[in-house]
């Protein structure tokens, strides 16, 4: 075990000792191999696969690799980087990750990797499958919407008599983590807390437990201040004397993104030197009067009118940008995708606490846009060119991105500007 050896990681020779874990060795030498399921001192689980590396030309997971002399390891080839990003995107598409409403936001390993990798949207369409949220255990809540099946809790959390508290049940896409009520009761308070912290995402929660640090000051919020993934795409072509023409709209959103957009205060006056707004709630222009360079879309598509507006934007704008969670993945309105439409309508019009006694009308009229079966992310309806995540994205950030896109410049996003929550 103690034999000194040399290995090569991405062209750099590293001296270490035989039999050590590759992820640990790399980390000590300032090379970061992203992991989700791997947890310090724990037997590697190799479930998430994002630590996949090239080892002597073959792909294998870093967390299960014990180094031997002369190993040639590649960690950051373009293909591996994209694979990693793709796997995180798969997890986002498979689960129901509404960061703005998650207790773990800012302390979530997956969210942090999302920021690090500069994921603005998933390349896969969201599955929106109905998953179980189990409130039955005495102390814990098992929130399967957020579970990424890393297996940490399954392998690690045992009672004093060695019984498993968690287990995978079913298989394939139906696999989920089930919690054993009897065994869960046997855990001590501190064991329960440890379990919650063991979970890399927000799937295991303790009832009544409040996260002490406020949003923005949590573990990864602080960690990530220096990191800036770079994003670049095609710019806009305009005549030299012409102003950039921008349109904006809010579909199924809360207008919060538009409010945030106005937060640049007086700078908007400078902005107006180069930018002219066409159809937008800011100008109150209802119909496009000319072709636009850029369209900013807030909100997803919840009804037939949203679809019409979005398609019109696609037609009238060279570049479409989804800004805010709702436009990117449906956001909070998409939480209704797990509830039958009829129930949603009844809840809104008949059974809600604010509806009048004896209310029996669900309005239906040709003038009222029709609700869609689901709330759709904009990119599942039309092609979207750029995404600005956040709930809402910060004002400076929105304008920085828009400006960079208009001028065709490469731009980077600091970790703390780049927010899903």
């Amino acid at each position: 075990m103690n034999k000194p050896i040399t290995i090569n990681i991405d062209g750099k020779n590293i001296k270490t000792f035989e039999g050590r874990n590759l992820v640990d060795v790399a980390k000590e030498n300032g090379i970061f191999i992203p992991t989700l399921c791997y947890f310090r001192d724990m037997h590697p689980l190799a479930t998430c696969r994002i630590c996949t590396v090239n080892l002597n030309g073959r792909q294998t997971t870093g967390c299960t690799t014990k180094v031997t002399d002369g190993m040639e390891i590649e960690i950051n080839t373009p293909e591996l980087l994209d694979n990693r990003k793709a796997i995180i995107e798969m997890l986002y598409a498979e689960g129901n990750h509404f960061c703005p409403s998650c207790e773990k936001s800012g302390k979530c390993d997956m969210q942090n990797l999302g920021y690090d990798m500069g994921i603005t949207v998933t390349r896969y369409s969201h599955v929106f499958s109905n998953k179980l949220v189990d409130f039955n255990p005495k102390r814990m809540i098992m929130e399967s919407n957020r579970c990424i099946l890393c297996k940490r809790c399954v392998e690690q959390v045992k009672t004093k008599d060695g019984q498993s508290v968690f287990s995978f049940v079913n298989r394939g896409v139906k696999t989920h983590v089930q919690i054993d009520y009897e065994q869960e009761e046997k855990l001590t308070e501190s064991e329960a807390m440890k379990t919650m912290n063991l979970c890399p995402v927000g799937a295991i929660l303790i009832k009544g437990m409040i996260q002490e640090e406020p949003f923005g000051e949590r573990k990864y919020d602080i960690f990530g201040k220096q990191k800036s993934p770079v994003i670049q795409g095609p710019g806009v072509f305009k005549e030299p004397n012409e102003k950039f023409i921008v349109a904006t709209t809010s579909l199924a959103g809360c207008f919060g993104c538009h409010m945030s957009l106005l937060d640049i205060d007086l700078e908007i006056l400078d902005m107006l030197e180069v930018v002219e707004f066409n159809k937008s709630p800011l100008t109150d222009i209802k119909n496009f009067s000319k072709h636009c360079h850029v369209g900013l879309i807030e909100g997803g598509c919840a009804n037939s009118e949203n679809i019409h507006v979005l398609k019109e934007f696609r037609k009238k704008c060279d570049i479409l940008i989804s800004f805010g969670e709702c436009a990117i993945m449906g956001g909070i309105p998409a939480m209704r995708n797990f509830v039958p439409l009829e129930e949603c309508l009844e809840e809104a019009y008949l059974n809600s606490t604010t509806s009048e006694l004896g209310a029996n009308i669900i309005p239906g009229h040709p003038d009222i846009p029709k609700l869609l079966n689901n709330v759709y992310p904009c990119n599942e309806i039309v092609k979207i060119d750029y995404y600005i995540p956040g709930c809402p994205p910060n004002a400076q950030h929105i304008w920085k991105v828009v400006k960079s896109i208009l001028l065709g410049e490469e731009f980077s996003i600091a970790h703390d500007e780049f927010k899903y929550d």
Binding site: R49, I148, G172, K174, I179, L372
Partner: protein, 603 residues
């Protein structure tokens, strides 16, 4: 009933089988009891039960019917048979009759592809079904007949063997002949001979058998294990079933050779549940070997040794054919593949050195010793000496088993099957190679998407079945020109989605998302960019999945895209800024229905 001693976890699956067979389900009180006896939490136990699709939490009927849903079955008229069963028992697929007499369920390939449409009723096989036969079967059962009295014992249908002196498997064998050689050679020399024979894993991975045995031999351990992989789950394969029916003695003797060579004292045949009807005969045969002193204590050899064989019954999970998943399953756990930190020869079953070999690999060993390795090496090709058993099914008249010499030309082989107008030949099952045999389509193709196996011929007709060109695990499915490649690969994709164990992200989620993409194309909403997505997503799944299931799951898909470009061209539209899959009428249909109902209520 609390026992003082906790039984070995490896017995868990057979306990679950006992209950499943007796009560047709495993109920909460059984779960409580079993979890107490085995000292595991109920949730952990439910995790095990729910992994295997032949264990059920709800009653599946006194007579449980499993109808094969493989593509070969489908093309043999499965839909009509499903309809017949539904009509005969009066409930739909996936349901149980209200009197709990019959339950009807889908299951992946049951190893009877040459005799489709086929089903299992209480794990007894019924082949060559038609509507009338289905009604007859159900009526007979209703009148009190037991499925075991009326089932069909599957015929072996051996269609082809080489000339007598070049045949390896399907010729008479007198028991124990080869085992006499154990008295001539020490274990090392047995391994040397197997290495010399270039025998390689016949399940499809082609890992050198002698080398595997040598590795296992060199690890010191108080106990070592031999496992015979009889979990033949690759759709379209049934060669192991026929071997176990025709020459089970070769398999047992192969295991005895392996045990002697590596120093193992316990052997297990991991038999897939679909072949449960073979279990009794196998057990009787094992008893015979025991009574002749070839199993048990002091087996005659140059260095006498102890070795015995048991049968472990699977419970419906394709992934358990993967060796590390199989070992987990044998230990009474969920059949998830291991993390691959160790090979089973180092740390296998219960953490001890273990050799896992395929049925056919093991059956070959006594034949090599019987004929002598020099004669064996005269057969086949340099890289792959000997013969290979292929299971042939699909659109050809001569379905069944072919024992061919390695090195046979693909065109010659196709002639034997009697196929007219073939279009697609799927080698080694859904995870294998998709061969196109319309000459003009494959001309330009020189390299397969699978890096390791570059095509050698311009025309796939001229390819050769051998280690030098197309290897094969055993499944050969033939499809004629009326078949739709998109439909075939969608069926394969459905299979992988259903059979992924779910433990690693790319295989579980990637295949699921890919399947949706394929459906989009089949629905007519595919665009050119969807094809690029499929290629790149497949590559992600291939490079980052944990086990062979995920890594190989998109072989056929990628090959089909490369080899049938015009099919995909026709199915795909030009890229557009608007997603053609979104349909406003469909998206608002539910809303329209609700509003209409409300209005109707007012009037």
């Amino acid at each position: 009933m609390l026992q003082s001693k906790i039984p070995d976890r490896s017995h868990l699956m057979s306990v679950l089988w006992d209950i499943q067979r007796k009560k047709r389900c495993i109920e909460p009180e059984d779960i409580t009891k079993i979890s107490q006896v085995f000292d595991i939490s109920k949730t952990e136990l439910e995790g095990v039960i729910s992994f295997y699709h032949f264990y059920h939490f709800k009653d599946v009927g006194k007579y449980t019917i499993y109808l094969n849903n493989s593509i070969v079955s489908e093309y043999s008229g499965r839909d009509e048979i499903r309809q017949a069963f539904e009509d005969a028992i009066g409930v739909g697929m996936g349901k149980v009759t209200s009197d709990k007499m019959f339950g009807l369920f889908d299951t992946p390939c049951i190893g009877l592809s040459d005799q489709e449409p086929a089903c299992l009723i209480n794990f007894k096989p019924f082949t060559h079904l038609n509507r009338q036969k289905v009604f007859d079967i159900i009526n007979q059962i209703k009148s009190g007949k037991n499925p075991s009295e009326i089932c069909d014992i599957p015929k072996s249908k051996i269609q082809y063997t080489p000339s007598a002196e070049r045949t390896v498997f399907f010729k008479p064998y007198s028991w124990f002949t080869a085992l006499k050689k154990l008295e001539e050679y020490p274990p090392d020399q047995i391994i040397d001979i197997v290495k010399q024979s270039k025998l390689a894993g016949r399940g499809g991975a082609f890992f050198p058998t002698g080398l595997k045995w040598q590795f296992c031999r060199q690890y010191e351990s108080d106990i070592k294990y031999i496992v015979c992989n009889a979990d033949e789950g690759e759709p379209g394969t049934f060669k192991d079933r026929v071997l176990l029916q025709e020459h089970p003695e070769l398999v047992i003797e192969g295991m005895i050779f392996a045990a002697y060579a590596v120093g193992a004292s316990q052997g297990t045949i991991y038999l897939r549940a679909e072949y449960m009807y073979l279990k009794e005969d196998l057990e009787n045969l094992l008893e015979k070997y025991r009574s002749h002193g070839y199993l048990g204590k002091n087996i005659p050899a140059q260095k006498p040794f102890d070795f015995d064989i048991y049968i472990h019954l699977g419970a419906g999970a394709y992934v358990c054919g993967e060796e590390t998943a199989m070992l987990n399953s044998m230990e009474g756990k969920r059949g998830e593949p291991g993390t691959k930190e160790f090979f089973p020869v180092q740390k296998g079953y219960k953490g001890k050195p273990t050799v896992v070999n395929n049925v056919e690999t093991l059956a070959t060993v006594p034949r090599i010793f019987e004929m002598g390795v020099e004669n064996w090496l005269k057969l086949g090709t340099t890289k792959t000496p000997g013969t290979k058993i292929l299971s042939v099914s699909g659109d050809c008249p001569n379905k069944g088993i072919y024992e061919i010499e390695w090195g046979m030309k693909f065109s010659e082989f196709l002639k034997l099957t009697g196929v007219e107008k073939p279009k697609i030949v799927q080698f080694s099952g859904p995870s294998g190679d998709c061969l196109s045999i319309s000459p003009n389509e494959s001309k330009t193709l020189r390299s397969s998407p699978r890096k390791s196996r570059d095509f050698l011929a311009d025309n796939e007709y001229d390819r050769v079945i051998s280690g030098e060109d197309i290897t094969c695990g055993g499944s050969v499915m033939i499809f004629n020109e009326t078949r739709d490649i998109l439909h075939i690969i969608k069926s394969f994709s459905d299979f992988f989605v259903a059979e992924s164990c779910g433990i690693c992200v790319p295989c579980r989620t990637g295949n699921f998302l890919l399947n949706k993409k394929l459906q989009k194309i089949i629905n007519g909403h595919g665009e050119k960019k969807d094809l690029e997505d499929i290629k790149s997503w497949s590559n992600i799944i291939r490079t980052s999945s944990r086990c062979g299931l995920g890594q190989m799951s998109n072989n056929s898909l990628l090959q089909a895209i490369a080899k049938f470009p015009d099919v995909f061209d026709k199915a795909l539209e030009e890229n557009s800024d608007y997603n053609p899959a979104f349909n406003m009428a469909n998206a608002t249909a539910e809303y329209d229905r609700i509003i209409k109902e409300i209005n109707a209520n007012y009037e």
